[in-house]
């Protein structure tokens, strides 16, 4: 184990290498590009024993990774924003086919106008598709979770593909020290590839032909949903296993910061959770008991985990870096819906900030929270449930 200053993108590339990925298929797009470049370098230099398929588009990137994974080897790809949207059909397909593979998403907003900065609309746009979807807070988590994602996706209780998200530039191009586990450690952690079926010559199976009985098809869809529910346990277990080997754990689906005695909860995902922690500390200095819940896995949605903390909250503020236009922030919709379904009664509010990539500081977060909390303390509720926050 050595510590190396790495960007988030390089952390992802190292993770793919350490997971002994056999086929990389990817197409460049800012800000994902350096992941692909690094992997190309590993492979071209002989440091990594894998095939690189230098495809002509993202649709083909995921298609080629999927073909390789269907054929029985570990496969990897990465993309961002328009690349992710361009492969959207394949995203659904891979989940429907139940083929485990790992894709890193460097989150970036969607155009027009062209804009390379981070928000979460691209990643969240995939949330219906049946993939496991997580978002990292820092580069160490990018590395750890990319490796772990192989184990999670290949677990027979899961057998679904997985995405690891990291914020454009805020992580992807930011260098910080990363603890790089040794190959032996990773080998001891990751079992040989497992998958529900392998396409191979002489073994005649047909994947994807039209079902005679639609009940079978609906059961497939339900099984994807149920397998995501089962994945909750797997994610937790894998977090513990990794902890035993490395001393690092993240709490599974969500991670809490100063939640034990919190009245008010901020919920968010990705890199700005770091700034939320800072904001919480500052607010506590002012006597406001704020807790931060970092949603690590948004699919499966951590319903039970959130309920545990939020049932007796005084207020819940969900920070979204993306919006389902004409409704509300994507994360908010999930959080609020599941609170509702569980019959929890707590004022909820959605702050839309950093959308299209605006820089958000911990002061901004503290400011937005402060105002909201003041209102809820005074009136017991939020007068508007959605706020577009542009900074102080």
């Amino acid at each position: 184990m050595v510590v190396k200053p790495l960007t988030g993108n390089y952390a992802a590339a190292y993770a793919a290498k350490l997971a002994r990925v056999k086929v990389v298929a990817a197409y460049p797009i800012t800000p994902q590009t350096t992941i692909v470049e690094k992997l190309a370098q590993f492979i071209d230099n002989g440091e990594m024993d894998a095939e690189m398929i230098r495809v002509e588009s993202e649709h083909s990137a995921l298609a080629a990774a999927y073909g390789a994974a269907s054929g029985g080897v570990r496969a990897f790809t990465a993309t961002s924003s328009h690349g992710l949207l361009y492969m959207h059909e394949m995203v659904w397909w891979v989940a429907g086919a139940r083929v485990p593979l790992v894709m890193v998403i460097v989150t970036r907003t969607i155009g027009p106008p062209w804009n390379i900065w981070s928000d979460h609309s691209d990643l969240m746009d995939q949330r219906d598709s049946g993939w496991i979807i997580m978002m990292a807070e820092h580069n160490q988590e990018v590395l750890d979770e990319t490796i772990k994602m192989f184990k999670i996706t290949e677990d027979p209780r899961v057998f679904l593909p997985g995405m690891v998200g990291l914020d454009a530039f805020i992580l992807s191009h930011t260098t910080e020290p990363v603890d790089l586990p040794g190959q032996e450690l990773v080998d001891s952690f990751l079992p040989p590839r497992r998958q529900p079926y392998i396409m191979k010559a002489g073994d005649p199976i047909l994947m994807g032909n039209v079902p005679r009985d639609l009940h079978d098809n609906m059961r497939m869809r339900e099984d994807i949903h149920k397998s995501l529910e089962e994945a909750k346990k797997v994610i937790q277990e894998v977090d513990e296993e990794w902890y035993k080997l490395t001393g690092r754990r993240y709490g599974g689906l969500i991670e809490c910061y100063r939640c034990e005695d919190a009245d008010h909860f901020i919920i968010g995902m990705g890199a700005w959770v770091g700034d939320m922690r800072e904001a919480a500390d500052r607010l506590r200095e002012k006597g406001i008991r704020v807790g931060v819940i970092k949603v690590r896995y948004v699919r499966p949605f951590p319903r039970e985990e959130l309920l545990k903390w939020l049932t007796n909250a005084k207020s819940v503020i969900v920070f979204d870096r993306g919006v389902s236009a004409g409704s509300a922030g994507q994360l908010f919709l999930d959080v609020a819906a599941h609170l509702m379904a569980a019959g929890v009664r707590v004022p909820v509010k959605n702050v839309l900030a950093g959308v299209t990539g605006l820089d958000v500081t911990y002061e901004d977060i503290a400011d937005a929270v402060l105002k909201s909390v003041a209102e809820v303390e005074e009136t017991g509720r939020f007068s508007t449930f959605i706020e577009w926050y542009y900074g102080r």
Binding site: V3, P5, F169, T174, T175, P177, W272, G274, T361
Partner: protein, 181 residues
């Protein structure tokens, strides 16, 4: 936590300097974070890079608006951009300059003739002195880092003979840098 802003030109290696600084910090028992101001980085165009150094894991990730230190890699730049923008009142400027730069008023300044060091050591690309490692040496002095650690970090990052040369550029700057107020 110390927040640093580097000013350079596209192609001059400001980002590299910031990255190596993270290494230096880590080797010195501190935490570091470095990031570029990303945009279409055209050759010759004024660019910026940022770094934070702290004695614990850094969790904030927003842009640096009020730096503690500004590092100016190109002596021409202050004529073109406001290198002092947002610099804290007690902030420090570390400048590549043959003498005390006159664009700084009211801030502590460290200066070193990094261009000369680079030219002397033949650190040149397309007629351009490569001053980033020299400036890192100067910055190390300001931050109180061990120059040996800086040399080590540079050599790890760059490797081979060029690493050696860059390391000595850093050391020379470390030694030659002049402080004035």
């Amino acid at each position: 936590m110390v927040e640093i802003r580097f000013h350079g030109r596209g192609g001059q290696g400001a980002v590299t300097a910031a990255n190596i600084l993270v290494s230096v910090a880590y080797k010195s028992g501190l935490w570091g974070q470095a990031f570029p101001f990303f945009g279409a980085e055209r050759r010759g165009a004024p660019v910026m890079a940022f770094a934070r150094i702290s004695n614990r894991r850094i969790r904030v990730r927003s842009m640096i608006r009020y730096p503690d230190i500004v590092v100016v890699l190109d002596p021409m730049l202050p004529k073109l951009v406001d290198v002092l923008k947002g610099l804290k009142p007690d902030g420090v400027v570390v400048a590549n300059a043959p003498r005390k730069p006159d664009y700084v008023k009211g801030h502590e300044v460290y200066y070193v003739n990094a261009s000369k060091i680079a030219l002397d050591l033949n650190l040149v690309l397309a007629g351009w002195p490569l001053v980033n490692t020299a400036m890192l040496g100067a910055l190390a002095k300001v931050l109180g880092f061990d120059i040996g650690v800086v040399e080590e970090a540079i050599k790890e990052y760059i490797g081979g003979e060029r690493g050696e040369v860059n390391a000595s550029a850093a050391r020379r700057a470390y030694e030659e840098v002049v402080r004035c107020v």
